[in-house]
């Protein structure tokens, strides 16, 4: 993910960034394309074929076939749709955790303290180690990956939202609202929520590529999605053995697909964050 950050930061920051809507359309379109493609994929294209083992890319198999004769292109498409589904679910859950904690922090000094300590604690642990521990504790599999990613990706966004919420809570108009007798809940709904929404959306979009990269990472080391299901991490792990035998194409399609999807969302999220940060200047 460092590479992704570098890729999206380097030149992108210096130039005037493109409109978030454009990048959003690219990222959203990509997801739609993957989901629709995977849904329309004839199941027979994912079958084993002993007569087409280790075939290099060609007209019949645009991305070649693997050691079990499965079409790599079709399998990559199915794998990306699994990754996107896992990534979306985990990112939504993670954002929800961050939002709940961010709002809770604005409820009082004690709550704020607890949220602060919790956030620092999770941030202090090595990220991937925590991910492995949670995935292992939940027994691996698709559910394990979703839970692990959801439980480890909220702290950065939670810290941002907490900071933002504190700023709003300390503002004059909130003080006036409170003086006029509005409840804390009313303030949270009418003052806090509109302020936090752009940050939440940007945060969600930024968590998404991390979620799919970490899904791939967990599946790669065998703690994620079951090895016979199409998943980018699984495909990359299995391609290691094939690369030794000279079958480079087995790694190419899933690797490229993963980078493209992750990059599209990273850039979309980055644009959203800049757009959200620009007017207020608090972020």
């Amino acid at each position: 993910m460092t590479a992704i950050e570098l890729l999206s930061r380097g030149p992108g920051r210096a130039r005037t960034s493109r409109h978030p809507a454009w990048r959003g359309a690219v990222a959203g379109g990509l997801v739609l394309l993957i989901m629709a493609g995977a849904a329309l994929l004839p199941p027979a294209w994912l079958d084993l074929d002993i007569h087409a083992v280790g075939v290099p890319p060609g007209p019949w198999h645009p991305a070649g076939t693997d050691s079990l004769g499965r079409d790599v292109a079709a399998r990559t498409l199915a794998a990306l749709s699994v990754s996107v589904t896992v990534g979306l679910t985990a990112a939504i859950a993670s954002t929800a955790i961050a939002l709940a904690l961010g709002l809770a922090a604005s409820m009082g000094r004690g709550a704020d303290h607890v949220v602060g300590v919790l956030t620092e604690l999770v941030l202090g642990l090595p990220h991937f180690v925590l991910l492995i521990m949670v995935a292992f504790a939940t027994g691996g599999g698709t559910t394990g990956v979703i839970v692990a990613v959801a439980l480890t990706h909220w702290p950065r966004l939670a810290r941002l939202l907490r900071h933002e919420a504190q700023g709003v809570a300390a503002s004059d108009y909130v003080a006036v609202s409170r003086a006029l007798g509005r409840s804390r809940l009313w303030v949270a709904r009418h003052h806090l929520a509109p302020h936090l929404l752009p940050q939440v959306v940007a945060g969600f979009v930024l968590i998404f590529p991390h979620a799919i990269l970490h899904e791939a990472g967990l599946s790669f080391i065998g703690l994620g999605i079951e090895p016979h299901l199409p998943s980018v991490g699984v495909m990359l792990a299995q391609s290691l053995r094939e690369i030794i035998a000279g079958h480079w194409w087995v790694a190419l399609a899933p690797g490229l697909g993963l980078v493209i999807v992750a990059l599209a969302f990273e850039r979309f999220g980055e644009a959203l964050r800049q757009a959200a940060a620009a007017p207020g200047g608090t972020g």
């Binding site: 079958d47 084993l48 002993i50 083992v53 050691s67 079990l68 004769g69 027994g139 691996g140 065998g222 079951e226 090895p227 016979h228 299995q238 053995r241 030794i244 035998a245």
Partner: protein, 522 residues
């Protein structure tokens, strides 16, 4: 240190050597024992005990010949072995091997708590200057295999440190063992078995990749390689593919699901596979040759029983497979029909659907599960591959089909797999297979007067014309493939006649190490 070793090794290999001195043999075949070289804790049950010798040994055709024993007879009631020992056997420290040593070894192994399978063994007694008696509590002909695997240790000097400094009457003696790195052995000067072709043999341990690298740089003479590399041996080496009974198959839960669970709460039973028609149809439908191509890259052969090619195997009991028409007919006749036209058969409201569980870390078994799932779809069975850890499989194996593997030079494995008394016990019979007729055949085999005479009974247990555990009978398993173990061997090495290898890739190849020879003049 390893670098130093490699340098020294290269120096030895490339220095001009006088024609008489044999150069050291370097093997990278894995098999380093965790607990050291103590036969009583299980060392030597595959391959050769190396440092120890056994009472009997298996010839390349798997027949039993004497090693320490010159004569061995079973009493008429079949509970007492009388073994006469050769008088010229000596341990590597020069002391003679006595009947006391043999009795000590067997009695100690019995008391060691199941590390060696000593079921049915009662006591060993010295009965003459070169004679020992082994008493069994009940007739058990498969105990003969123990005579061929349990290495004899010296009664004097056996103790806690033995596993790290073994003294035995086998072909080799230990020079140095650096755990995780290498084992160096030299011939035992007192060995009774004849000349050994090497002054020194080194076993290099480490990863598979390290072994391949040693072979490519010419520093190892024989390495175990994965099937995918089998055919790409480097210059100066020849691929060596060894036939095995290291088999893989589908283990079926035999009981219907009645909500019953084991003591640990694992569910028992599967309504679909409890129907014999389903199990027979699977045996008929699977294209085993295609599975060999798919999962083993062609390095194997189809399996139809648990001991293909071994003397106690009964090929009559198997179904060759690749017959989807026959499988469909079997299913139709048993009432499994596709009434709603979704391509999936049903019977009395029950869908012909089940999981095939495989250990997630094993790519061969994964490929088998995927291949079988696809082949069975053609006959209207819905199979879902399911990759799990062994811990999870232990909880699933009484209720789900599991891809398992066995293969031993010992018919007691057949006993463990199929005798009703072991139903539900361990990995052998998790499907609760039990058939009184098969039990009777197996027990008759164990009561046989000698090993040869037991063979027809073992075979009848697989298929006696009307029933058996084989595919034609109860079809308790659908055996799929026998692996081939792949090695690269130096062109200068003659590894002689080889037996069919058991479960376990690597160390079993050392079984006939004392007979190996260099063939090149240097």
């Amino acid at each position: 240190m390893r670098l130093l070793f490699a340098a020294a090794l290269s120096a030895m290999l490339f220095a001009p050597v006088a024609a008489v001195t044999a150069r050291p043999l370097v093997l990278a075949v894995g098999g380093e024992p965790e607990g050291g070289f103590d036969p009583i804790t299980g060392w030597g049950s595959y391959g050769t005990p190396l440092f120890q010798s056994t009472l009997l040994r298996r010839a390349p055709d798997l027949s039993l010949v004497g090693d320490l024993a010159t004569d061995w007879t079973l009493s008429p009631d079949r509970t007492r072995w009388t073994v006469t020992l050769r008088d010229d056997a000596r341990f590597s420290d020069g002391t003679p091997v006595t009947p006391e040593d043999v009795a000590f070894t067997y009695n100690t192994a019995r008391d060691a708590g199941g590390l060696v399978d000593m079921a049915g063994f009662e006591e060993a007694r010295v009965s003459g200057p070169h004679e020992v008696q082994l008493d069994l509590s009940a007739p058990r002909i498969s105990f003969t295999s123990r005579l061929a695997t349990l290495g004899i240790v010296p009664a004097e000097g056996y103790g806690p440190g033995y596993a790290r400094a073994p003294v035995g009457s086998g072909p080799f003696q230990l020079v140095e063992w650096r755990e995780g790195a290498q084992l160096v052995v030299e011939p035992n000067p007192y060995w009774h078995g004849g000349e050994i072709g090497f002054d020194r043999v080194s076993f290099v341990f480490g990863s598979e990749e390290a072994g391949l690298a040693l072979a490519r740089t010419g520093q190892a003479d024989l390495v175990a390689v994965p099937a995918s590399q089998a055919d790409s041996a480097p210059q100066g080496m020849t691929p060596l593919n060894v036939e095995t009974v290291d088999n893989r198959g589908l283990m079926f839960p035999m009981r219907p699901d009645t909500g019953q669970t084991t003591d640990t709460g694992a569910p028992i039973g599967n309504d679909v596979t409890a129907d014999r028609a389903i199990r027979v149809a699977i045996n008929q439908a699977v294209d085993r040759d295609a599975l060999v191509t798919l999962a083993l890259a062609g390095h194997g052969r189809p399996a139809t029983g648990p001991a293909d090619g071994l003397p106690w195997d009964n090929p009559q009991g198997g179904i060759p497979g690749a017959d989807p028409e026959g499988a469909r007919a079997t299913l139709e006749a048993a009432g499994w029909r596709d009434a709603d036209g979704d391509g999936l058969r049903e019977k009395d409201g029950l869908s012909a659907a089940f999981d095939v569980v495989y250990p997630a870390g094993d790519s061969t078994r994964q490929a088998l599960a995927l291949g079988v799932a696809q082949q069975l779809r053609d006959i209207g069975l819905h199979v879902t591959p399911n990759g799990r850890s062994w811990d999870e499989i232990r909880a699933l194996m009484h209720a789900q089909v599991v891809v398992m593997g066995w293969g031993a030079h010992d018919p007691s494995e057949v006993m463990n797999l199929y005798h009703g008394s072991g139903a539900g016990a361990g990995y052998f019979n998790p499907g609760f297979y039990s058939n009184p007729t098969v039990d009777a055949h197996l027990e008759a085999a164990e009561r046989a007067p000698d090993f040869e005479a037991s063979l027809p009974d073992w075979q009848a247990a697989e298929w006696d014309g009307t029933t058996g555990f084989g595919a034609k009978g109860d079809a308790a398993w659908a055996w799929l493939v026998n692996l081939e173990h792949a090695y690269w061997a130096s062109d200068c090495l003659d590894t002689g006649a080889r037996q069919i290898h058991p479960h376990g890739h690597g160390f079993p190849i050392t079984h006939d190490l004392p007979d190996w020879r260099w063939t090149c003049e240097e």
